[in-house]
């Protein structure tokens, strides 16, 4: 009985170390081989791979920090580890965009191609007996089917692609970047990027968010959400006319965008263009009916109706 149990458990327990994982697609990037050799190395102390891995990506992005300095920011003593969301939040505190990559090997390789080291969560154990570990992938070698990592106390860990893929898959294929303001991820995912920048903005890093929104609008000029977010940021920075033009751009690209139309209408009313503002808010109200923004638009309409008409300059 005991013996049968042990034999039954064996593959589960050893799956992490024995490479019994199904083979995934071979490593295919733009190059045969990439290694971001300039990525610094912070050897981890016991349990503190979170601070060490975060220090690695933050230092590479130009932040003067160390694993020890990040312990009070991301380490949870009672859990003997760090949580993913706290690594993202800590990036924001250092004015870096904490960006979660798409959960595919192709996306991971695309980031390495773009010169971004990827902080990954690995499960070195088994699905039901997890051993969570953070490391930083700094390169790949297609010919040798290897990934290159800064991990634990190993400066340059060479991991067979299949084995790495197994540990990464069991960790939920989670990987993040710490991007400098304005630096765009390698995978073309505007919504994902804008969401990450919005979180940076809410965390109070307004200057870094502004730079990143400007960069997003330049990189994806056809993306209405980029212009909308940029409009809000410009307005908060005191640039009402610049904001208005960003909302106008968003509306050219997406005429049905209720939020952009609402905001544009309020700005028009604010500078005396009451008639135009009323026409805009009426359009927004039509679109917002029974939607999540219905009440906001109704409030805006009342605000605009209560404004006195002024001198409206185009």
């Amino acid at each position: 009985m005991g013996r049968q149990l042990a034999i039954a458990l064996l593959p589960v327990l050893l799956a992490g170390c024995a490479g019994l994982v199904p083979r995934e697609a071979p490593v295919q990037g733009r190059s045969e081989r990439v290694e971001l050799a300039d990525v610094p190395f912070f050897p981890q102390r016991r349990y503190q791979c979170g601070p060490a891995a975060l220090a690695t990506v933050l230092a590479y992005s130009g932040i003067d920090t160390s694993a020890d300095a990040l312990v009070p920011e991301v380490y949870l003593p009672a859990r003997k580890g760090s949580l993913q969301v706290e690594l993202l939040a800590a990036s924001r505190r250092h004015a870096r965009v904490g960006y979660v990559i798409e959960p595919t090997l192709a996306a991971l390789v695309a980031e390495l191609d773009a010169g971004h080291p990827v902080l990954v969560l690995q499960n070195l154990g088994a699905v039901h007996l997890p051993i969570w570990h953070y490391a930083v992938v700094i390169g790949y070698d297609s010919g040798r089917e290897q990934f290159i990592l800064r991990s634990g106390s190993t400066r340059r860990e060479l991991l067979h692609a299949g084995r790495f893929a197994g540990t990464w898959r069991r960790g939920g294929r989670w990987g993040m970047l710490s991007l400098r303001p304005g630096e765009i991820p390698g995978g073309a995912q505007p919504a994902r990027y804008l969401e990450s920048v919005a979180a940076l903005e809410t965390a109070g890093q307004t200057a870094a968010a502004r730079t990143s929104y400007e960069a997003a609008a330049a990189r994806w000029p056809g993306e209405p959400l980029a212009w909308f977010a940029l409009g809000n940021r410009r307005l908060a920075d005191g640039g009402a006319r610049e904001a208005e033009s960003a909302f106008a751009r968003a509306l050219e690209l997406a005429p049905g965008d209720v939020a952009a139309r609402n905001n544009r209408a309020l700005l028009l009313a604010r500078r005396g263009c009451r008639a135009q503002a009323l026409a805009e808010i009426a359009l927004a109200a039509q679109r917002a009916e029974h939607g999540p923004l219905e009440r906001e638009v109704a409030d805006s309409r009342r605000t605009i109706e209560a404004t006195a008409p002024g001198i409206c300059t185009p």
């Binding site: 979170g50 969301v85 939040a89």
Partner: protein, 136 residues
């Protein structure tokens, strides 16, 4: 259970709420523009947007922040660090932490733990007579 304990907990909670509200107000630039629909509202899912637009929900988000801050303190983080840590979390992340701070993966282990697991496996195999490496 015990009165002193409850009193202490209440005080900790009150302190947590206070610091969080102070942080929340300081770090919500969107609030300054009356009537404007914020980027956060649009970026989140439609449901979250509807909730967030609500003032009540905004208050709830502040409470979630306070709760998460308290949880971090329970997990061994000091009060000042905990306040700073929650201030950088997005609403979605707060909700996640408020619900499952104890069950989310906490990456921390090194190869040592792997050796530990292998050791346990060997011990089981030895115990069941499959292998013989430990002398009894």
């Amino acid at each position: 259970m015990n009165c002193e304990m409850n009193m202490k907990q209440t005080l900790t909670r009150a302190f947590a709420y206070f610091t969080v509200v102070a942080f929340g107000l300081a770090s919500t630039p969107q609030l300054a523009q009356a009537g404007m629909i914020g980027t956060g509202t649009v970026v989140d899912t439609a449901v979250a947007a509807a909730q967030r637009a609500d003032n009540l929900a905004r208050a709830q988000s502040l409470l979630a922040r306070a709760d998460v801050q308290q949880q971090l303190q329970k997990l061994g983080v000091n009060a000042a660090d905990a306040a700073q840590r929650v201030a950088s979390l997005s609403d979605a992340e707060l909700q996640l932490l408020a619900k499952q701070a104890d069950s989310l993966p906490a990456g921390g282990d090194s190869a040592l733990a792997v050796i530990g697991i292998v050791f346990i496996v060997l011990l089981i195999l030895d115990y069941t007579g499959t292998i013989h490496i430990f002398r009894r």
